[in-house]
């Protein structure tokens, strides 16, 4: 039994009713098969496939970076880089009380504004609510916004945010990673931070990434 190998849709990962099919897998008879292209991962009895591509599916409490798409009478519609559009209710926009009859909602968040928000709720019919109220949640006014494959985000963050912490230290940039594949970088060495993130994105399926990225970053430091 080899842990962590690339599997294709329909490929059998393991046989036996002792195992449970997790994300990215399905059961066919007594076999557990992959549903998506990705890396198989067997932990105890749970069989998973870590996808290597695919869209972002909103999950409750995920930090995301959204772009305001529409300003309506008492809510905003937010593009969260997913097949589902999110809604931000009036009370979730600001700490201040907003009255739709007196306040102009376009002044709080206008079309095209980039907002760090959090998924408040996802209903069964996939209607998504986001909130901009909470620690660290705010409108982004400066820096660079990167689009990466949402499936590579866990590798960019790293275990206990080790990877993103290291990039922050080495580049001196402020970095916010949204689960939806949007990353905001501001201050410090933005170019280097972007280069490193692209490198992680391209090599997300390899193991021992933190070490090789550390080496790379140190090499870049010496070069300068």
């Amino acid at each position: 039994m080899e842990n962590r190998k690339i599997v294709t849709p329909g490929e059998s990962i393991i046989e036996g009713m002792d195992y449970l099919p997790g994300d990215g897998t399905h059961r066919s008879g007594s076999e557990i098969r992959a549903s998506v292209l990705g890396l198989s991962d067997i932990r105890d009895r749970l069989v998973k496939v870590i996808p290597l591509s695919g869209v972002y599916m909103p999950k409750r409490d995920d930090p995301v970076i959204g772009v305001i798409k529409e300003v309506r009478y008492n809510n905003w519609s937010v593009n969260i880089n997913s097949p589902y559009e999110a809604t931000m209710m009036l009370g979730d926009a600001s700490e201040r009380f907003l009255d739709p009859r007196k306040d102009k909602l376009g002044k709080v968040f206008a079309i095209g504004d980039v907002v760090i928000c959090k998924i408040k709720n996802v209903e069964e019919n996939m209607s998504v609510l986001v909130t901009a109220r909470g620690p660290g949640l705010r409108k982004i006014t400066e820096g660079k916004l990167l689009d990466v494959e949402p499936s590579r985000i866990p590798r960019i963050i790293g275990k206990n945010a080790s990877m993103v912490k290291m990039i922050k230290e080495k580049t001196g940039s402020r970095i916010f990673v949204g689960q939806n594949g949007k990353i905001s970088i501001s201050g410090g060495n933005v170019e280097l931070a972007e280069k490193v993130i692209r490198k992680i994105e391209a090599n997300a399926h390899l193991s021992g990434l933190t070490d090789s990225i550390k080496e790379y970053l140190e090499g870049e430091e010496d070069g300068n």
Partner: protein, 244 residues
């Protein structure tokens, strides 16, 4: 237009030198459309087809979205330069039909219920046509869907087979028909399967064939499908080996 040849099969060789159970030279290229979620180009001999997948994404207009699952749409298109005489662009009777059967073939393997109220758009474009385009398109679409990270029960693999005549007018069953064999042959069958589930997801026939000939052709095609399936898996895995 050329005239009908006297034979399509002579001295145990087909017009292009193949045996009855040989498929044409196959080539797979992944990620040929950077704007798409997933894409692939599959080449069988002189037939070249590109498939691109967009989505799952928001369905517009909203009223066409399905409340409990994703809608899978396919658009099969032949470029006007893909054949010898200019092909009138745009979908006609034939294109609409092929789009329909392609979408239906994939609806049975994709886990559509994972993406309610969305749409998965599948674009199949024939850049060069030399028969078996719908099946080549299905092979490309299978790879494009997998590359887009869309959950599926199985990949989909197809091979065509047909019946071609020798100099005495006797029919022989052959796989992966090319243009003259498709045009002048006695029958041709488009056949696609989902190897992991074993289901037949597309089966169409033009012309006449006995049951025995059909079974023989299906058996030959199944053998070729195993090879093409392995090639599909290899192409998907190589996507990640190369960047090592």
């Amino acid at each position: 237009m050329e005239t009908k040849p006297k034979y399509l099969y002579k001295n145990s060789k087909r017009l292009d030198g193949r045996n009855l159970d040989d498929y044409r030279k196959m080539k797979i290229k992944m990620d040929v459309v950077p704007n798409a979620q997933g894409s692939a180009e599959v080449i069988f001999g002189k037939t070249k087809v590109t498939a691109a997948v967009h989505g799952p994404r928001v369905m517009h207009p909203r009223r066409l979205a399905l409340p409990d699952k994703a809608l899978l749409r396919a658009k099969y298109d032949m470029f006007s330069f893909s054949v010898e005489d200019r092909k009138r662009p745009g979908p006609g009777r034939r294109e609409i039909e092929i789009s329909k059967v392609t979408a239906e073939a994939f609806r049975s393997v994709v886990f559509l219920e994972k993406f309610p109220r969305t749409v998965i758009d599948l674009f199949v474009s024939v850049t060069q046509a030399d028969a078996s385009t719908r099946i080549t398109g299905i092979n490309a679409a299978s790879l494009a869907l997998a590359a887009a990270g869309i959950p599926m029960r199985s990949l989909v693999v197809g091979v065509t087979f047909g019946k071609i005549y020798d100099e005495k007018g006797v029919g022989h069953v052959a796989i992966d028909v090319d243009k003259p064999e498709d045009q002048w042959g006695m029958a041709d069958v488009a056949y696609a399967r989902a190897p992991a589930t074993g289901d037949v997801v597309l089966l169409q026939m033009d012309g006449d064939m006995t049951k025995e000939e059909f079974d023989k052709g299906k058996k030959m095609a199944d053998k070729a499908i195993d090879v093409v399936y392995k090639a599909q898996i290899k192409a998907l895995k190589d996507k990640f080996e190369v960047s090592k």
